[in-house]
Structures are given as structure tokens and as C-alpha cells.
């Protein structure tokens, strides 16, 4: 299976600060990918690099095997819904569908009209007067009716209330199931993505912390609790992601591809949310000196 997004050494610098660094990813096709990280982690930068809205400072990125926005053909294969789901406020809903029809050779007008009808949007209404949820649905409709192979969504549910959020994701998943597109969607909340994604990328402080199939990630991470112990004495195959100690007890979240046999540990599975939070909180400690002291092998 080919990679829908392949990056190597990808970096983007704004003036003095790096928004994204050393990003090496190979996202397989046919997945619903959750891109998680706190605000300002570089999620938007990565997605904008992937649609060619930004040019990389260093490294390479290829999307569906081509340079992002390399030509009309490549653009036609990628659908994008930007943060805050921008639409033309003064144009009517119907005008947006005409825009889509005019600018996209593979435009599926039936799909677009069906979705607009399903959502109960009035085609004559100006997009500026739509609610946040309706606007997000209109933007998603434009991206879907383009019939892309890959759909990129930047915080599509951030501005929606919980009900609209659930509805948006439900409709997205329906569309994904129906048309078989690969999807990458970002959020700063794991809870949003937990139910829909089968592949996860955790981005913190402009770096990719972990990336992989959700099932594989859950299988490889364990919470160990037992008598207090220096993490440095763990086997080399166990990478400590998070640790907390009391006087008598240590609780660790470790990543390992091998079974944990040490009988002094109580081994429990971790939830996706715990896993993501562990990687997020580790970020601040990620200086080389600290890593050495902790004996973290990465």
C-alpha cells in the first residue's frame, strides 16, 4: 500500500521559530488519521504543507506521490477543509456549489445537492449567515463533492458544540465509508477523534512524538505500577513515556514491543487518551540532558 502522505526531514520555520521540525511520516492509505496535539503544536502547519498552502523550509513532502498543489491534477485529488471552515460570507450556498462545479472537473453535483438537502440548508441563504455547524458542513460538502482521494480537515469540529460535533463526525464517517477516501483530521482533543480514527499522530512542540495504527499503539503501551524503582533499571526495550513516583510506589507508562514479564509490575492497558496525554506531557522535558538523566531510549 502506498503512502498518502510521505515526509522526510520536513520543517517549516517562521522567522525565528520552527512550527514543524524533523517530521518524518508515512501515512498509509485508506486510514482515518487523527492528528493530535496541543494548540500551536504544528498541526495546521503540517496540513497546510500537505495542501501546498505553505512551502517547506527544509525537507520534502509528497502527497499521493506528488508535490502538494503541484498542478490541477494533484489539487483535484486532495480535499481540504481549513481551520474555522472558511466560506465566502457574501456568496449564497448555491454559489458555493457552483464554485465547486466550475473549479473541479470531478465534481459530484448530485452528492453536493443531496448533502445540502440532507443538512436542511437553504441554497439561497448567504454563507455568512450560516451557523458554525452549518458552515462546517458546507465546507465539508465542498471538499467531499470534489471526490478527492485524500481529505484533510484542520480542526473541523473545534468551533462546534458537542451535538454538532458528533453529527459532523457521523456524517464524515458515512461519507468516508461510502466513498473510501483517506482522511487526516486534526484536533487538540483526543476525545473527538477516539471514536473515528484508526491511525494516530501525536504532534507536540513542532515535533512528531508518536505515529502509528491505533491498535498497534494501544498494544505496545502499558501502564506499569509496582514498588518504587529507578526507571533507568528497566530493560532497554522498554521506553518510559511517563513516570510518577511516590515514596513507595512507581507508576510508569512504557512503550515496548515485547511482553512485560517482570513479576514486580502490575501491568494494565492504557486508553488512547492516556497515551496521548502521556506523550504531550513528556514534551516539556524533552531536553537531551533530561533524557540522559532519565535514561530514556528513543
Amino acid at each position: 500500500m502506498g503512502a498518502v502522505i510521505q515526509t522526510s526531514g520536513l520543517g517549516k520555520q517562521y522567522r525565528r521559530t520552527w512550527a514543524l521540525r524533523d517530521c518524518a511520516l508515512a501515512i498509509p492509505e485508506g486510514r482515518v488519521v487523527g492528528l493530535v496535539g496541543p494548540n500551536g503544536a504544528g498541526k495546521t502547519t503540517l496540513l497546510r504543507l500537505a495542501v501546498g498552502m505553505l512551502a517547506p523550509t527544509c525537507g520534502t513532502i509528497s502527497v499521493l506521490g506528488e508535490r502538494p498543489a503541484g498542478g490541477p491534477g494533484q489539487l483535484a485529488r486532495v480535499g481540504f477543509v481549513a481551520q474555522d471552515t472558511p466560506v465566502y460570507a457574501r456568496m449564497r450556498v448555491a454559489d458555493h456549489l457552483r464554485l465547486g462545479a466550475w473549479l473541479n472537473p470531478a465534481w459530484d453535483d448530485e452528492l453536493a445537492r443531496h448533502r445540502i438537502g440532507q443538512l436542511g440548508l437553504d441554497p439561497r441563504q448567504r454563507a455568512g449567515s450560516l451557523s458554525g455547524g452549518q458552515r462546517a458542513q458546507l465546507a465539508l460538502t465542498l471538499a467531499l463533492a470534489k471526490r478527492p482521494e485524500l481529505l484533510l480537515l484542520d480542526e473541523p469540529v473545534a468551533s462546534l458544540d458537542p451535538l454538532a460535533r458528533r453529527e459532523f463526525l457521523r456524517l464524515l464517517m458515512e461519507a468516508v465509508a461510502e466513498h473510501g477516501v483517506s482522511v487526516v483530521l486534526s484536533s487538540h482533543l483526543v476525545a473527538d477523534l477516539e471514536r473515528v480514527c484508526d491511525y494516530l499522530i501525536v504532534l507536540v512542540a513542532s515535533r512528531v512524538r508518536v505515529a502509528g495504527e491505533v491498535s498497534a499503539l494501544l498494544a505496545a503501551h502499558h501502564r506499569l505500577s509496582g514498588p518504587r524503582r529507578d526507571p533507568g533499571t528497566l530493560p532497554a526495550s522498554q521506553e518510559v513515556i511517563e513516570e510518577s513516583h511516590t515514596d513507595k510506589q512507581s507508576t510508569l507508562l512504557v512503550r515496548t514491543d515485547e511482553p512485560v514479564h517482570d513479576p514486580s509490575w502490575t501491568v494494565r492497558p492504557v486508553s488512547l487518551e492516556d497515551l496521548v496525554l502521556a506523550y504531550m506531557s513528556r514534551a516539556g522535558d524533552d531536553t537531551p540532558a533530561r533524557r540522559q538523566r532519565l535514561g530514556v531510549v528513543s
Binding site: 497546510r48 495542501v51 501546498g52 498552502m53 505553505l54 512551502a55 498543489a69 498542478g71 490541477p72 491534477g73 489539487l75 483535484a76 486532495v78 480535499g79 481540504f80 481549513a82 481551520q83 474555522d84 472558511p86 466560506v87 465566502y88 460570507a89 457574501r90 456568496m91 454559489d95 457552483r98 464554485l99 465547486g100 466550475w102 473549479l103 473541479n104 472537473p105 470531478a106 465546507a139 465542498l142 470534489k146
Partner: protein, 351 residues
């Protein structure tokens, strides 16, 4: 993309059409009477000896009526300001508003390259800008044609008597409005792409366009072609303003409006020179007598007999269209360069 561009251009198109229609009505209502005044003065078919007098009468009549002078100025101002307004309200928001509202992420992720998006937008907006400005100019030219003919016949004596080379007339007639419109639009688009915010981009557009429009007639246009120079006898000046400055009357200035044998020429500078050909404003001692003070022709004869002549630099009337084409080409070339820069910037830097 052309259809989308036209759809998104609807509001601007309606505004522009309304402005054109309003101006057309104003001129259509007043134009015929202006033409009848010209006819009534019998300037067409006039004898060479009386033409200048008849033309001057006509211009004075118009000027005294008030309305026509106001309309004339209004039209000129409208044509001069239209490119600026287009640069501000069509050019500056073109890219800046897309970036501000985030709709760039919508527009530039459809199955169409940014190059094509910009090419169509620039073409539609640029053609409309040129059409509107040149439309206004042609209407004004039709309306003011009798005034132009009267000035051509040597009519003078009022503010309406502006030759074809005067800054207000040159910049509002012929093909120069095309260049200004395209240039102002391109400045607006470029400022928007660079500054990425509409209102500051509008301010910068206005500042740059105004600066260029002031620099062009003052410093650039007179030097587009090498000026011609001529030296003529003081006595042959057909119109002269002579001032004796100072109490002792030892200094003078010679001024001239027309250059003998060069009707309609653009006078760049003129000044007296002495027998050695050097610029002078000192009256020869022999000509400073009291008797000369109130007798202009005696003073002029005296100056001439002491070798004083008038040196003139000018652009001949025959160069009018060369000036028009050159200036328009300069503005269009600048617009093209700015547009080229926008293409580069849109493809490399913008998000």
C-alpha cells in the same frame, strides 16, 4: 474560473456601471448646449485673423457661465481619481481579503492552480479597470471637444484654456487613463499580497499611486524625450509678461505663453539670455532709464539692441502621441512587472 471571477465581481461591476451611467447622463444633458455655444460663436470656418479672438470669447463665455467650468473640473477629477479608487477597492482586497478571511484556503485548494486563479482575477479586474477609466475619458473627450478645438484655435484668457500637454488634460485624454488604471490595480493587488491586510494595503496603494502620479508630470514626463531648444528675439515674442522688479528697475523677467511657429507646443522653460548666451535677469544699464519704465516696447527694443534674447526649451506638438504611447507603455510595463511579482509571491510565499 472565469465564471467564478465574474460571479465574485458582480458588486464591483454594478458599482462601476452605475458610476459610468451617472457620468454619461450628466454629460449627455449638458453636452449639446456646450456644442451649440461653440457653433454660435462661429469658430468653425473662422478667418485666421479672427479665430483666436472668437475662440477666446467662447472660452470666456463658458467660464463665466460657471457650470461648464465646474463640470469640466469634475470630469477631470473623476478620471484622475478613478484609477486610485480601483486600486484601493478592487486591487488591494483581491488577495488581502482572501488571506484575512481565510477563504484563500478554499480558493486555492480547488482543482485549479494559484497561477490560474490569479491570472483570471487580474485579467477580469484589469480589463474592467481599463474599460471604466477609458470609458470615462472618452465621454469627457466627447463632451469637451469644443473646448479642445477652441484652445487649438489659440483661445486663451481663462482657466479653461488648457493645452493638450497641460497635466490635467494630458492625464485625462488619449490612452494614458488605460495605463493609470492597470497600474493602480496592480499596485493594489501587490500591496495586498505583501501586507496581507486590506486596510493598510489600501493606504499604501493610495500613497504609492499618488506619489507616482505627482512625480510623472513634474519630473518624468518632461524628460521622456530630449527637449528642443530655441532662441528667439525678444521682440518676436507674441505674448510677453514683463516685470520690472526692485525700486531702481534694474532687474527683469521675460515670460512667454506661446512659441512662435510652434502652436500647441509644450513649453518646458524659458528665460532671457544675454549676447553671450548666458542666462540673465539684469537689465543693461542703458535700458534702466526712467523713460523705459512705463514704455514696454521701448524697453524691449532697448533689450534687443543690447543682445538680449529669449531661450526656450519645449516639446513640439507633433510629439503628443509619442508622449501618450510612451507614458502608457511605462505604466503598463510597471503593472506587468508588479503582476509578475504577485505570481511569484503567490506561488512561493503565501499561505
Amino acid at each position: 474560473m472565469i465564471r467564478l471571477s465574474l460571479l465574485q465581481f458582480r458588486v464591483q461591476a454594478v458599482t462601476a456601471a452605475a458610476a459610468l451611467a451617472g457620468f454619461a447622463i450628466l454629460l449627455a444633458v449638458t453636452g449639446p448646449h456646450l456644442a451649440s455655444l461653440y457653433a454660435a460663436n462661429g469658430i468653425s470656418g473662422c478667418q485666421p485673423a479672427s479665430c483666436e479672438h472668437l475662440a477666446s470669447n467662447f472660452l470666456q463665455q463658458l467660464y463665466a457661465a460657471g457650470t461648464y467650468w465646474v463640470l469640466y473640473l469634475l470630469g477631470v477629477m473623476l478620471i484622475l481619481l478613478t484609477p486610485a479608487v480601483i486600486g484601493l477597492f478592487w486591487g488591494a482586497p483581491l488577495i488581502a481579503r482572501e488571506l484575512e478571511t481565510g477563504t484563500s484556503a478554499l480558493a486555492w485548494t480547488q482543482s485549479i492552480t494559484r497561477t490560474r486563479w490569479l491570472a483570471v482575477k487580474l485579467t477580469v479586474g484589469g480589463l474592467a479597470a481599463m474599460a471604466v477609466t477609458e470609458g470615462l475619458s472618452l465621454m469627457q473627450a466627447w463632451w469637451a471637444a469644443p473646448i479642445g478645438r477652441a484652445v487649438g484655435h489659440g483661445g486663451n484668457g481663462t482657466n479653461l484654456a488648457m493645452g493638450r500637454f497641460s497635466s490635467l488634460v494630458f492625464a485625462t485624454h488619449g490612452i494614458t487613463p488605460l495605463g493609470y488604471a492597470m497600474f493602480a490595480y496592480a499596485v493594489g493587488v501587490t500591496a495586498g499580497a505583501l501586507i496581507r491586510r486590506t486596510v493598510p494595503a489600501m493606504a499604501v496603494t493610495l500613497a504609492i499611486f499618488a506619489a507616482v502620479q505627482i512625480a510623472m508630470p513634474l519630473w518624468i514626463r518632461p524628460n521622456l524625450f530630449p527637449a528642443r531648444h530655441t532662441v528667439i528675439p525678444v521682440t518676436s515674442l507674441d505674448s510677453i509678461s514683463l516685470q520690472q522688479g526692485g525700486l531702481n528697475g534694474s532687474r527683469f523677467n521675460l515670460g512667454t505663453g506661446n512659441i512662435p511657429g510652434q502652436p500647441g507646443a509644450w513649453l518646458l522653460s524659458s528665460g532671457a539670455v544675454n549676447a553671450a548666451g548666458q542666462a540673465t535677469s539684469t537689465t543693461p544699464a542703458a535700458c534702466t532709464t526712467q523713460s523705459m519704465e512705463n514704455n514696454t516696447s521701448a524697453l524691449m527694443d532697448c533689450l534687443a539692441s543690447h543682445g538680449t534674447r529669449e531661450a526656450i526649451s519645449y516639446q513640439p506638438a507633433s510629439r503628443y502621441w509619442a508622449f501618450q504611447w510612451t507614458e502608457t507603455a511605462i505604466y503598463l510595463a510597471l503593472a506587468l512587472a508588479l503582476a509578475g511579482y504577485c505570481f511569484l509571491r503567490l506561488n512561493r510565499r503565501l499561505s
